[in-house]
Each structure stands twice: as C-alpha cells, then as structure tokens.
C-alpha cells in the first residue's frame, strides 16, 4: 500500500492536506481531503452582544470578510425585527458587488487562473500570477492591481476598513454616501464592467480557443452530477445579496426553493473523525456518502452552481455571456431553461460571468440617486430573540443563525459557511481526478499532482483565497511509502 501526501495544499486559503492511498496494484484505493483547522466561532460567540457579530464573524475569513459582515448584518435585521429601507439595501448590495468584483478578480488571475492561463503542467515557477502577467502582458497585470485597488478603496471608505469592514448595523449602515462619492463610485463601477468584459475575452483567447483545455474541462476527471444551490431573485435570476435559496437536481429540475429562515429544514451536517470540518448535505435526500446522483444529498454551492440553480443573470451583458457559456458547453435548453453544466472546471468561467454581473449591478445601483439617502442609521427599539440571514458568499451560500436573550446577548450561534457547503463535492472531485490520473504504472509527476489540486481550486475554497501569487521556486516534494511506511521514492522538482 503506497501513500501520497500533499501537505499542505496550496493556492487556496486555509489549511488542508490530501492523502492518496494506493492499493497493491498501484491504483487509487481511496483519497481523503482533510481539514486540520477548527477555531470554534459557534461556541465562543455565545455571550457576545449580537451587534458585534458583523465584526467578529468578519474574522472567520479575511479574504471574504464582507460576506460574513453582510450575512451577519442581515441576521441582525431579522433578530431585531427591523426591515432596512430601500436606500440601505442599495448601499449594502452595491458595497457587496464591489467586493465580489475584487474577490473574483483575485481568484481568476492569481489563484485558480494560473492553472488555466499557464496550463496545468506548466513549469511551477511560471504557474502563478507573474507567469500570468508575462503571458498576458504587464498592462493587464497593472489592470488587475488597479481593479483590486479601486474596489478596496471603496470598501474602506464606505465600510471603515479595507479588510474587516465595520459599518453594518441592524436595519442600516453606519454611514451614508455623499453625492460626490456616488459619482466616484459610479466611475469605479464602469471601470469594473470594462475590466470584466476584458477578462472574459481573455478567457476566450487563452482557454476556449485551446482545444486541450476544452477537453480538460469536459473530461470525466472533473465531471460529477450532483445537486446545485444558489440564491435567486423573484425571477429566479442570480442575486448575491438577497432572495430565496434554490436547489436544482442533477437534471436541472427545481428540488426546493426556500427562505433563509428555513435552512434547518433543508440542510444537515455530517461528521467524520478524520477531519475538523463537517459535511453539509440535503436533509430531505439524506447522507449517502461521497457519491453523486439524485439519491445522494451531496450538493455544491459555487459560481457554477449558482448559475445552474438559476434561470439566468439579471443584467444584460452578463446574460449574454451566460447563454454563450451554456451553449458552448453543450447544455440543452428545455422549457426555456438550460440544463446544468456538470463540468466543475467551468466554475472558472462562471466566476468571470459573475464578475461581470457584479460590475453591472453595481453600476445600476449607483445610477439610482436614492443611494444617497442620508438616513441610513435607524434606532432599534425591538427586543431581540432570534434571527437568520443569508447571502451568497463568493464560495457558496452563507447562512448565519443567532439566538439571544432579551438584552441581545447571544445564547446560540449556528453557521453554514460558503465553502463548507462544498466539502463533500470537493472531496469527490479530488477522488475522481486522482482515480483518472493515477493508475497502475503511472509515473506520478509534480504536474500530475497539480492537476489533482486543480480539482479543488475551481471551487475557490474559502477561508479566504486568492491573493497574488508571487514567483519563486515552486518545489514539490512527494514522499512515496510502502505499506510498512518505508520510504520507497521521493519525487521532487525544483525550478
């Protein structure tokens, strides 16, 4: 029995390792994607004042603190029974879209993107953001940095800080937007739209015109048929800030559409002893293990899942690209709805479509002068009891649930976090990629192991993610041991 350990896996946020266990014949017996981290927010937040949660739960993830901040703020709306005004909702949604632009940009260009733009088995020293810049040009690199810079600037001005914003309050936002700021932010939104369409064109040039990459996307190694989840508005179109949570089955039929407050009737979590992270699944289908199909409760919540679970995008350009993706990847349109795409690598494409939607949506909201309403900080008078709120985090549907005493001190906290939704399908994707790529007699190279890591990267796993990837050596060492733990081989590659 041989064992291949990838520890730690890289170009994602957080800690995890992959154990690949081979049988006597040299085929993959099983794989285990283990998460060695736990901090315990659901327990140590008990006893804290509820209104502090937007800035305590920020620290669940410093790459997507805006997502937790927003889910938490919406939970406070429900907890204190206060409906935000339409102006407040616009401020929040616009802020949230700005965050989506910067976050999806960083992932595509620095985290998951290099695998595509440079190629999965490109020399490791090139397979990072700088390699990407060399390939696509310094001007593009500066555009990527500029995109992050202008949106983080907006986040800091409106949210208080560039990382870990603080402005969310029950029923409101702690500061309003001036007319000058609205104009400045509108300019940012327009630049975002241009950058998004540019990125999609780049994807066309580099990925879609390369038949090897298209084959990779369509290959069995990265395909699985499961349920898909995403938040949609009243027209079943994708919305990141608010709406109902819609789940479709592998055939694309609506399985359920529920309000955030009813999440516990639909989601349950499974525990395994070899990892600290739990596995959510659809309660009404049940946990059947790490398998796909209609009879298994495994579901994914990624950009691809959101598009699969919807009937389209709510802004014109994004909708064009949406239809194009589904058509090119061979999805049939039945009764006006496209069938789900089951190729997990297509999430990279879906992410860019979402980037475009976020930019267009941001522009729409900023063109509405109501967003400058000065009265955005209400006084709360109701006694809090219980509240549930959700948003679409870039990495999946994010749900916060709080209960408090009459003084608003937390007595119970339950969280279903973005990437956690995807823990089972990630494990399955790693498994299928490993089984396809490693067989008896296969020479296990660094590039091959990177192709296995690619199976998780398309999910853009949470704990924060994508940051610039700096160049440097990318050595990889793989220790191959026999069933007695004796070192049989060491594969390493330094560049």
């Amino acid at each position: 029995m041989k064992r291949i350990s990838i520890d730690p896996i890289t170009r994602l946020e957080g800690h995890a390792k992959i154990e690949i266990l081979l049988d006597e014949g040299g085929n993959v017996d099983n794989t285990y994607f283990q998460v060695p981290e736990l901090r315990g927010f659901e327990q140590f937040c008990v006893g804290r004042p509820a209104e502090e949660m937007p800035r305590i739960t920020n620290r669940i993830c410093g790459v997507c603190p805006e997502a937790h901040h927003m889910a938490s703020t919406k939970t406070l709306d429900a907890l204190f029974g206060i409906e935000p005004t339409s102006a407040v909702k616009k401020i929040r949604e616009m802020f949230y879209c700005s965050f989506y632009v910067t976050d999806h940009t960083t992932h595509f260009y620095a985290l998951g993107g290099p695998d595509f733009v440079m190629g999965p088995e490109a020399p490791p020293a090139e397979r990072n953001i700088l390699g990407v810049i060399h390939k696509v040009g310094v001007e593009t690199g500066k555009q990527v940095i500029a995109c992050r810079q202008r949106n983080h600037h907006l986040i800091q001005v409106l949210g208080g800080r560039g990382v870990h914003p603080v402005a969310g309050i029950p029923g409101g936002w702690s500061r309003a937007i001036s007319e000058d700021e609205r104009k400045e932010f509108l300019e940012i939104a327009k630049q975002n739209v241009d950058f998004a369409t540019f990125s999609l064109k780049l994807f066309d040039e580099i990925v879609l015109s390369n038949s090897d990459y298209v084959d990779l996307i369509l290959s069995n190694a990265y395909t699985q048929q499961i349920y898909y989840m995403g938040t949609v508005d009243e027209n079943n179109l994708v919305n990141f800030y608010d709406g109902k949570i819609r789940v479709v089955d592998p055939d694309g039929d609506e399985f359920v559409k529920y309000e955030a407050k009813d999440y516990a009737e639909h989601i349950e979590e499974h525990v395994e002893p070899w990892t600290y992270l739990k596995f959510p699944y659809l309660k009404n289908v049940g946990w059947k293990g790490f398998v796909g199909g209609k009879d298994s409760g495994v579901y994914a919540a990624t950009p691809l899942s959101r598009l699969n679970a919807s009937k389209g995008m709510a802004t014109p350009l994004a909708q064009e690209y949406f239809e194009r993706m589904y058509t090119i990847l061979g999805s049939k349109k039945i009764n006006g709805t496209y069938q789900p795409i089951h190729h997990t690598l297509a999430a990279h494409w879906a992410r860019l479509i979402e980037l475009l939607y976020a930019a267009e949506r941001m522009q729409e909201l900023l063109e509405d002068e109501e967003i400058c309403d000065p009265n955005v900080r209400p006084i709360v008078q109701n006694t809090p009891t219980e509240g549930i709120g959700s948003v679409e985090a870039p990495r999946g549907t994010l749900t916060h649930h709080y209960r408090t005493d009459e003084k608003g001190i937390l007595t119970m906290v339950n969280l279903i976090v973005g990437t956690t939704n995807n823990y089972a399908p990630i494990s399955m994707s790693i498994n299928s990629a490993a089984r396809e790529l490693i067989k008896a007699g296969t020479v296990v190279t660094e590039g091959l192991l990177n192709k296995i890591e690619m199976a998780f990267r398309s999910y853009d796993p949470c704990f924060g993610c994508a940051t610039h990837s700096l160049p440097g050596q990318m050595p990889l060492k793989v220790y191959v041991r026999d069933h007695e733990g004796e070192l049989v081989d060491v594969l390493s590659q330094f560049c």
């Binding site: 981290e37 736990l38 029923g171 600290y276 990177n450 990837s469 060492k477």
Partner: protein
C-alpha cells in the same frame, strides 16, 4: 541581483483568517517592488512550497519570516518552532500572533464546550453516533492524522522567541509597507533596525490622538449599544456614551473605525508599556462614569452605579476582544458538570 543574493522572505498563517495575507496584497503596486527585492521561499497561500521543503532549509535560511495566526493546535506550534529555527528574523505579524485576537475569545470558553457545540449540539448537525474528530483515525486504507486542538489559544511569543511585532487586525497596508521599506534599507544600505523585541509598524500614542472626532470633557451617565443612538457626526463616540476602546489602544491604524461612526475595539493592541490592555480600558471606562455623589447613601450609590455599569454589554469579551492570550488572566474558569475548574 542574482537569485542567490536576494534576501529570502516567508509568510505563514497559523490559526488565522487570511486577512493578514490580503493586507499584504493591499500594498498593491508595491508588491511588484517586494517581488523584485525578495525571494519568496515559503507562502502556502500563494506559492507551492510544502512543509518538508522548510524542514530541509539550513537553519537561519529565511531572512524575514512574517508569521500571522494564533497557536491553537499542535500543527500551529510545530510550524512556529520550525520557522523560528529556519529564520533569522521572525515577526509576529498581526493581532493573532501578537495577542491571540479573535480566536483567543475561545479562552473564555473551553475545548469541550467547542467540540460539544460544533459536533453534537449544533442544530443542523446530525451525529447520532457521537463521532468526534480524533488525532488518529484508522480507515480501511490506512491511518489518518490531524493535529491536536489545544485547550487554550496562545500567542506566538508564548511558544517561541519573537524578534519584532507588527500589531493590527490586520496591520494596515501603509504600515506593512513602512516596515518592509525599513527592512530593505537595513538589508541593502545597512540602516539600523529597531531594538529587538520592539513593536513596529505602529505609533507610540493612543488611537484618540489620530482620531479626527472632536473630544470633550467626558461625563457619561450611561453607555449605549451602537443601535440605540445615532451619534452626532464629528463628535467623539465615547463622549456620546458609545463604547470605544481608542483611549487604551495603540495608534497606527488612523482611527479608521470611529470615522464611520463605529467605536474602536482595540485591534492594534495595548499601548507601549501596558501588559494587559483589557484592564486599562476597564479602568478608563469606569473612570468616566459620572453618576453618584459622595452624599448619596451607600445603598443608593450601589444601585446607581450598578445600573450605569450594566449598560456596558459583555465587559470581558469587549475589553479583551483581541488580547485574551496576553491578559493577566488569559483563560476563564469554565465549570464542567457543576464543578469549577479547567476541563483538561
């Protein structure tokens, strides 16, 4: 400069959130300068080096290691010791490494309580067999291992010697760049580094000194929760009865949170010379309460003061929001089955 001559930079995250990594990225175009000057030899978020590569470095191979995240597990501690051995200069980067930060709020509860809530008590978790994660598990195909979850959260300097500290949750990008510039000047021009053990990338005063809100004589009869009042623009939040820890927090961030009408919660850590930040702010807040006269009866006084003090919600979790691991009492006593004492 040849690759061999470039100073080697490493960045690692222990029990953290990734915000420190993003803060480094938010130096924006200056990243390209950092890339020109340094050789990044270990940075799991961005570069594909593995732990074994670090184990194979000669001792002191890394010139500058920025270590963020608190020490929550055996893996965090092991890598802290490894990086100490392999680094010339080890910096506690950010509040988690400096003083525990948000993860150290777990020191107000216990490992048992956390495991119980997460794996059994959680209302969305179905675990009828009471499965709890184990450091060693036997599966059909072999043995699997995950790190031990320690009973308490510690700071980096509670497990290894630390050369410098950069405070903040996260440190602000302009401060990060100031530190990197100083390091580059030291490496390339022989400029002097601050004395070992210093807090760098931050100021010497309190957040109040950076804050643009107008301060007045503090006479506070009671405190308000942030949703109970709408503060008057341009005026000190604490003056208006909103809890703000700026008076006991080290400057350096630019007093960002008060600028959007939200009180400081102390993420830049204690001021120079202060060991327990929470005790300082407790004293400061208590001192500005202005109710009760010497002529009141003792019973009246007790009642008035208790009412005023009760308007501060969650004192321990507020005063020690970021600094539990460095508090004089760094862990709460959590009762188990009715008996008092630690549960490990």
């Amino acid at each position: 400069m040849s690759k061999k001559a470039k100073p080697k930079l490493a960045m690692y995250w222990a029990a953290s959130c990734g915000g420190c990594e993003i803060a480094v990225l938010n130096i924006h175009e200056k990243l390209l300068v950092v890339d020109e000057i340094f050789d990044v030899v270990f940075w799991p978020v961005a570069v594909d080096f593995k732990y074994d590569d670090v184990r194979n470095f000669p001792d002191g191979h890394i010139d500058l290691c920025l270590f963020n995240g608190a020490i929550r597990s055996s893996e965090n501690e092991e890598i802290a010791q490894l990086l100490r051995q392999k680094s010339k200069v080890l910096v506690a980067f950010g509040s988690c490494a400096y003083e525990g930060c948000i993860p150290a709020l777990a020191n107000l509860t216990s490992k048992n309580a956390i495991f119980d809530t997460v794996f059994q008590g959680s209302l969305s978790t179905s675990n009828p067999e009471g499965v709890i994660p184990q450091t060693e598990t036997t599966v059909p195909e072999g043995e699997l291992h995950i790190p031990e979850f320690y009973p308490a959260v510690r700071s980096l300097d509670q497990v290894v010697n630390v050369d410098y500290t950069i405070p903040g949750c996260p440190p602000e990008p302009h401060q990060i760049w100031a530190v990197l510039e100083a390091v580059v000047a030291a490496l390339t021009q022989g400029a002097e580094l601050p004395p070992a053990g210093s807090v760098i990338g931050a100021g010497d005063l309190a957040v109040c000194d950076e804050c643009e809100l107008e301060q007045d004589e503090k006479q506070i009869e009671r405190f308000y929760r942030p949703y109970e009042v709408v503060p008057e623009a341009g005026k000190c939040l604490l003056d208006q009865g909103l809890v703000c820890l700026g008076a006991a927090t080290r400057s350096g961030c630019g007093a960002l949170c008060p600028q959007v009408g939200i009180g400081c919660r102390g993420c830049y850590g204690p001021m120079e010379g202060v060991e327990d930040q929470g005790a300082r702010i407790l004293s400061a807040l208590a001192s500005v309460i202005s109710v009760g006269e010497p002529s009141d009866s003792e019973a009246e006084l007790e009642k008035i003061l208790e009412e005023a003090i009760e308007t501060i919600a969650d004192p321990a979790g507020t005063f020690y929001r970021f600094s539990m691991a460095k508090a004089i009492l760094p862990r709460a006593i959590v009762s188990v089955n009715g008996s008092k004492g630690a549960d490990e």
